[in-house]
């Protein structure tokens, strides 16, 4: 059963917290209906700034507001947030300004709109910025907690949201901790690190793999940067084989993040699943998942292939 998308969860959370957190301001670049910041705009019109179709200006304005004591949430589609990357780099990240970048419609969740509106590079280009935290919440509760955390944490961050409702993953007792990966299932044969939309695909793959007596240790990574290296190494050691899966290019995203940690500390055979360095296209989300090889069936296949290829450490 799907619940609200993370973009909707974000929109609602900003409204809920906007009531008592008077310092929150929200900016958007003419996409407030899609990004859901319109809800905040309707409730707190004098604290909402629609910058129009002008992302670079939005980033600079958000910085100016944050330098004046506000917590500034700047929202647009992930693809268009990249337009302001230089401003993010030279102003927001360099000075570690209290701007939280809300990047909606990530991956190919904006399925019908096609390539220009889809984004597979954002994790790569945001995590290589010093001071920039990179979050990728999996469900409603994780989104709420990341947003709330960010209101009180001083510093910049990139919060990657998607357009489509996904199944609930965390229970109601869940507590997000910055830097911490989250173990979702126990397993001995392969560790699957997943983020965002691919977490539920990983969970679906588990049932099929179990039927073939393959047990997978599934780890959700909502905090891609910072990330607890020791935990990643431990989860890799638990099985000796690693699959990573993300709705992002195979280059530079979650897979690269995990690989960087493991190659220095505990090299193991890895399979990095992601968009195979191509641009997106129009279609239905499920069709695109299949076309790009990012669904539970492919996770099953890659997991079995990895087991067949043998471990690095026996």
């Amino acid at each position: 059963m799907t619940e609200l998308s993370t973009r909707e969860a974000c929109g609602l959370t900003l409204v809920k917290l906007g009531e008592k957190e008077k310092n929150i301001v929200v900016l958007d670049a003419d996409l407030s209906a899609s990004t859901q910041t319109r809800k905040f705009a309707e409730k707190f019109p004098n604290r909402f700034f629609d910058m129009g179709c002008a992302e670079q200006n939005m980033i600079g304005t958000a910085a100016g507001l944050a330098l004046s004591g506000k917590v500034a949430f700047a929202s647009t589609f992930a693809s268009f947030m990249t337009r302001g990357w230089e401003q993010i780099r030279n102003t927001v990240a360099h000075d570690n300004i209290n701007v939280k970048l809300i990047a909606s419609h990530s991956g190919f969740t904006d399925a019908a709109d096609g390539a220009t509106h889809q984004c597979f590079e954002d994790i790569a280009i945001m995590r290589c910025l010093p001071n920039m935290c990179v979050f990728s919440p999996v469900d409603v509760i994780e989104t709420e907690q990341i947003i709330e955390n960010e209101i009180h944490r001083k510093g910049c961050s990139y919060i990657r949201l998607n357009r489509i409702g996904m199944p609930k993953v965390n229970d109601d007792n869940y507590k997000f901790e910055i830097g911490k990966p989250v173990k979702l299932t126990e397993g001995n044969d392969v560790t699957i690190f997943a983020t965002g939309t691919m977490v539920s695909e990983a969970l679906k793959s588990r049932e099929i793999l179990q039927k073939e007596n393959i047990s997978v240790l599934i780890i959700n990574v909502p905090s891609i940067k910072p990330l607890d290296k020791n935990k990643i190494v431990k989860y890799a050691k638990d099985t000796g084989l690693v699959v990573t899966v993300e709705e992002h290019n195979i280059y530079g995203g979650l897979g690269s993040t995990i690989a960087e940690i493991l190659i220095e500390n505990y090299p193991v055979k890895m399979k990095i699943m992601g968009v195979k360095d191509r641009f997106g296209e129009s279609g239905e989300y499920k069709h695109l998942q299949q076309k790009f090889g990012l669904n539970y069936e492919e996770i099953v296949k890659n997991t079995k292939d990895l087991i067949r290829s043998g471990k690095t450490h026996e």
């Binding site: 700034f49 002008a54 100016g64 004046s68 500034a72 030279n90 000075d95």
Partner: protein, 258 residues
């Protein structure tokens, strides 16, 4: 309170600091630092009140800003000779870690957006302060400047004063040869700004103009300036956009600025 003569003397001190620090560093931007010196003196030693904020969008004029901040007591004047050196406090372009610098700059075109954000916050918080930002004219090639210009007008930011250091030169040549900005005044007026022009080296005129305000409109002051003003062989000389004077040129500069 300084009188005009004292302010003009201050400007000379600042110019000496600029040449000294750039020569000591062996690199830097004398032309654009010298052209906005008088504007900075007018702002920091007369116009800006407690609570007012300033942003140097044309960040390469850092030597001028640093000289001003040192004279205002943010750090020791002796720090100026360490500009750009290894592990130096004073970076090649303004850095937020420097006392008196609110936000780093150096990448052109961003300052007006940031100043807008500050002005919006002031309106939200009902503060009675003003936000000043100095931009270059070449900098106005950047599209973001015009995005910000629309925002300033849309939100009626009459607490915002932007000054363009109109020295008519950029890196690759005269502004009108590279990408012509004229009709410059009319562009800002078309964007809904209250526009005034001033002699960018007449401190009295600058003070008068900087204190003007039109309700409901942001204020653009086009300050007509000379790049390299104050050192005869640097004036209107493209070569001194981003070059340190030689030993002989340094001596000649300091002689002229006595």
């Amino acid at each position: 309170m300084y009188n005009i003569k004292e302010l003009e003397d201050k400007a000379k001190v600042i110019r000496r600091h600029i040449i000294n620090s750039i020569y000591s560093a062996g690199s830097g931007h004398p032309g654009g630092s010298l052209s906005c010196t008088d504007i900075l003196v007018a702002l920091y030693f007369n116009v800006m009140k407690h609570g007012d904020r300033f942003m140097l969008s044309k960040g390469h004029a850092a030597p001028a800003l640093y000289a001003i901040l040192a004279e205002c007591g943010h750090f020791s004047v002796t720090e100026l000779k360490n500009l750009r050196k290894n592990d130096a406090y004073l970076q090649g372009h303004p850095d937020c870690n420097i006392s008196g610098v609110e936000v780093s700059s150096g990448s052109l075109g961003q300052g007006l957006s940031i100043a807008n954000g500050m002005a919006l916050a002031s309106k939200l918080d009902k503060l009675n302060n003003r936000i000043f930002v100095i931009m270059g004219d070449g900098e106005c090639d950047e599209g973001q400047v015009w995005e910000a210009a629309m925002t300033s007008t849309h939100h009626k930011l009459d607490n915002l004063v932007a000054i363009v250091d109109r020295n008519r030169l950029q890196v690759d040549g005269k502004t009108e040869d590279v990408v012509s900005l004229e009709p410059f005044r009319q562009k800002w007026e078309a964007f809904g700004w209250n526009v005034t022009e001033a002699n960018g080296h007449n401190i009295k005129e600058l003070i008068d103009v900087l204190n003007q305000k039109v309700e409901g409109k942001p204020h653009m002051i086009i300050a007509n300036t000379i790049k390299g003003k104050g050192v005869s062989f640097m004036e209107n000389n493209l070569a001194f956009h981003g070059k340190s004077p030689s030993k002989e040129e340094f001596a000649n500069s300091m002689e002229e600025l006595k």
